[in-house]
C-alpha cells in the first residue's frame, strides 16, 4: 500500500531526519518527496510504500503524530487513494 505523509509547520532543523528515522525503523520506503513553503508554512509531502513495513498503518500514524508533536509539526499519514480520488479523474 502507498501512503502520503504530510508534514506542516514552522521550519526547523531535523524535520526530514526525524521523519526519515521513523520510516527507516519500520522499513517504510520513501518513493518521492517534495518540500515547499505554502501560506508561510513549511510543507513536506512524502509518497511512501508500506508494502514491506514492519508495523501497521495505525501504529505508524500514531508514532508519526508523536514525532510531529516533538518537532512542533503536524504530521498526517493517509492512504494515497484519498488524494487520487479527489484530484484525478
Amino acid at each position: 500500500m502507498r501512503a502520503i505523509i504530510t508534514v506542516i509547520g514552522t521550519d526547523c532543523v531535523g524535520i526530514i531526519a526525524g521523519v526519515s528515522a521513523v520510516l527507516v525503523k519500520y522499513n517504510v520506503n520513501i518513493l518521492d518527496m517534495n518540500q515547499t513553503t505554502m501560506q508561510g508554512l513549511f510543507t513536506m509531502i512524502m509518497l511512501v510504500d508500506m508494502s514491506k513495513s514492519r508495523t501497521s498503518f495505525e501504529k505508524l500514524a500514531e508514532v508519526l503524530e508523536t514525532n510531529g508533536n516533538e518537532l512542533g509539526m503536524k504530521i498526517h499519514i493517509q492512504h494515497e487513494d484519498v488524494f487520487k480520488s479527489m484530484h484525478r479523474i
Binding site: I8, T36, I45, H76, Q78, S85, H87
Partner: protein, 452 residues
C-alpha cells in the same frame, strides 16, 4: 505524484473546513423476521440487526484512520416497521425498544425505519404504527420514525396529514421536559426515498436488497470556503462552475468511503447521497454559502434563486463523481442545525414562509424548525399539506420535521444539543386552517403524474 497544493487542499478541507463523511448507513431488510408473536419478532429483529451490522462501527473507524477523513455517524436503516409488525397483534412500541437495544449494542447513534408508507391509505399495521409513534419516540433515544403521506402518483392522503398534526403535537408533549426533542426524530415525507442514508428519515425500502451500504457526504464548510475566495466580481456562470468542481471533490470522498466500506463489510454498495448537510460548527453552514453569493442575510430576497443555483450545481458536480447517486441529494436547510440559519432567524431575515419557498428548489423541506408549543394540530397539518403539495406537484421529495416545543412561545430559545443544535422558536401564521384540514380524504394526484 499528487501535487503538494492538492495534498494541502485536501488536508485543509478536512482540518479547517469541516469536510467529513456525514454518515455510513447500513440498510437491513427485516422482512425475514416476521412472526405472529411480538416477543419472538422482537428477538428476531434484534438478533438480525446485531448480527448483520456487528462490524459497522469498527469498519467505519478503520476507514477513518486509513484515509484520515472523519466519518461522523455510523447508522442503520431497516424495513418500515409497519410492514414487519403487520402480522402480530402486540404493541408496536415493543419493536421500537428492540431497535433501541440493537442500536445501543452496536454503538450507532440513530436507527431509522420506525416508519409507515400511507400515501394512499392505511393498512392495519400502518395504523397501529402511526398511533404508537409518540410513545415510541419519547421513550427511546436512537429510534427515528417517518411517515410518507403523499406521492406524486397517489396524491396527498389528507387523513394521514391530519393525523400527523396530532401525532407531532403528542410526541412534543410527551418529551416536553427536554424541549420536545422526540419530534426531532420524526419526519413526515412526500415522495420518500427508499435509499436515503440521512436521519431522521432513513428507512430500508421494499425495493432494496437484503442489506446495502449508503453514504451521505457533507461539505458546506468546504463550499463556503471556496466561494468566499471567489470574490464579488465573479458572475453566476463562474460561481456555478466553482460549486460543481467543489461538489465533485467532496463526492469523490464519499464514493471512496462507500466503496471501501462495502468491500470491508461484504455488503453491496447502494448510493452516495450528494447532500450538503450543515452542522452548527463555525462556517459549516448552507446559509453562509448563500450569503457568499451576495445575499446579505439568508432569507432576504434572492435567497431562493441562490439556493436553486447551489442545489443544481451540487448535483451536476456530484453526479460524475459517484457511480450511483441517490437518496435526497441536494442542499439541506435544517434551521436548528445550521448556525447561519439560526442567526438569520434571530435577526428577522428568515421566516417560515421564506423557508417554504426555499424548499421548492432544494432537497427535503421544512427541517428542524421549532415552533410555538400551542400551535394547533390543524395548523401543523396544514404546514405538512403545503409541503406535500410542493413535493407532489414538483415531483420531488419534501419533508416536514417541525418541533412544537411544549410550553414555549415564539422568540424563546431551545437547545437540543449535539448535531441537532438549537435555536429560536419561529412564529407561525395565527389564522386557522381547521376547516380545510378536517375535510379529510385524498387530494388527487396532479395531472403531471400521468406520464405513461
Amino acid at each position: 505524484m499528487i501535487e503538494p497544493y492538492e495534498v494541502v487542499e485536501t488536508i485543509n478541507m478536512i482540518s479547517s473546513e469541516s469536510l467529513d463523511i456525514r454518515t455510513i448507513t447500513m440498510g437491513i431488510s427485516l422482512r425475514d423476521c416476521v412472526h405472529s408473536d411480538t416477543k419472538a419478532l422482537c428477538t428476531r429483529v434484534y438478533n438480525k440487526i446485531t448480527c448483520v451490522a456487528r462490524d459497522l462501527v469498527q469498519v467505519g473507524e478503520t476507514i477513518e484512520r486509513k484515509y484520515g477523513i472523519p466519518i461522523i455517524n455510523k447508522r442503520i436503516s431497516v424495513t418500515p416497521i409497519s410492514i414487519i409488525a403487520e402480522g402480530c397483534e402486540g404493541d408496536c412500541v415493543e419493536l421500537a425498544y428492540a431497535l433501541e437495544r440493537a442500536a445501543k449494542e452496536l454503538g450507532v447513534n440513530f436507527i431509522g425505519g420506525y416508519s409507515a408508507l400511507v400515501h394512499k391509505g392505511y393498512t392495519v399495521g400502518d395504523k397501529r404504527l402511526v398511533e404508537s409513534i409518540p410513545e415510541a419516540l419519547s421513550n427511546t433515544e436512537r429510534v427515528c420514525a417517518s411517515v410518507n403521506v403523499a406521492t406524486t402518483k397517489a396524491g396527498i392522503n389528507m387523513d394521514a396529514v391530519a393525523q400527523m398534526g396530532r401525532v407531532i403535537k403528542q410526541t412534543a408533549y410527551l418529551s416536553a421536559a427536554r424541549d420536545s426533542i422526540a419530534c426531532t426524530k420524526l419526519v413526515v415525507f412526500t415522495n420518500a426515498q427508499e435509499d436515503n442514508p440521512f436521519m431522521a428519515g432513513a428507512f430500508h425500502g421494499v425495493g432494496e436488497p437484503e442489506s446495502v451500504i449508503n453514504v451521505g457526504v457533507s461539505g458546506p464548510g468546504v463550499m463556503h470556503s471556496a466561494l468566499s475566495k471567489l470574490g464579488r466580481e465573479a458572475n453566476f456562470s463562474e460561481l456555478a462552475e466553482l460549486v460543481k468542481k467543489t461538489a465533485f471533490k467532496i463526492t469523490r470522498m464519499g464514493q471512496l468511503v462507500a466503496t471501501e466500506a462495502a468491500k470491508m463489510l461484504n455488503i453491496p454498495f447502494g448510493v452516495v447521497d450528494l447532500s450538503l448537510a450543515p452542522t452548527i460548527a463555525v462556517g459549516d453552514s448552507v446559509a453562509l454559502i448563500l450569503e457568499d453569493m451576495g445575499i446579505e442575510k439568508c432569507g432576504a430576497h434572492g435567497t431562493t434563486a441562490a439556493l436553486a443555483l447551489l442545489n443544481d450545481a451540487v448535483k451536476k458536480g456530484g453526479v460524475m463523481a459517484s457511480s450511483h447517486v441517490g437518496g435526497l441529494s441536494g442542499a439541506f436547510i435544517p434551521v436548528c442545525e445550521d448556525a447561519g440559519m439560526i442567526e438569520a432567524v434571530k435577526c428577522g431575515a428568515l421566516s417560515l414562509e421564506k423557508l417554504e419557498a426555499m424548499t421548492c428548489v432544494c432537497s427535503v423541506g421544512l427541517d428542524m424548525i421549532p415552533i410555538p408549543g400551542d400551535t394547533p394540530d390543524s395548523t401543523i397539518s396544514a404546514i405538512i399539506a403545503d409541503e406535500a403539495a410542493i413535493g407532489v406537484v414538483n415531483n420531488k421529495t419534501t419533508a416536514v420535521r417541525i418541533i412544537p416545543v411544549s410550553g414555549k412561545k415564539a422568540g424563546d430559545q431551545v437547545e437540543f444539543g449535539g448535531l441537532l443544535g438549537g435555536g429560536i422558536i419561529m412564529p407561525v401564521n395565527r389564522f386557522s386552517s381547521e376547516n380545510f384540514v378536517r375535510r379529510g380524504g385524498r387530494i388527487p394526484a396532479p395531472i403531471n403524474s400521468l406520464r405513461n
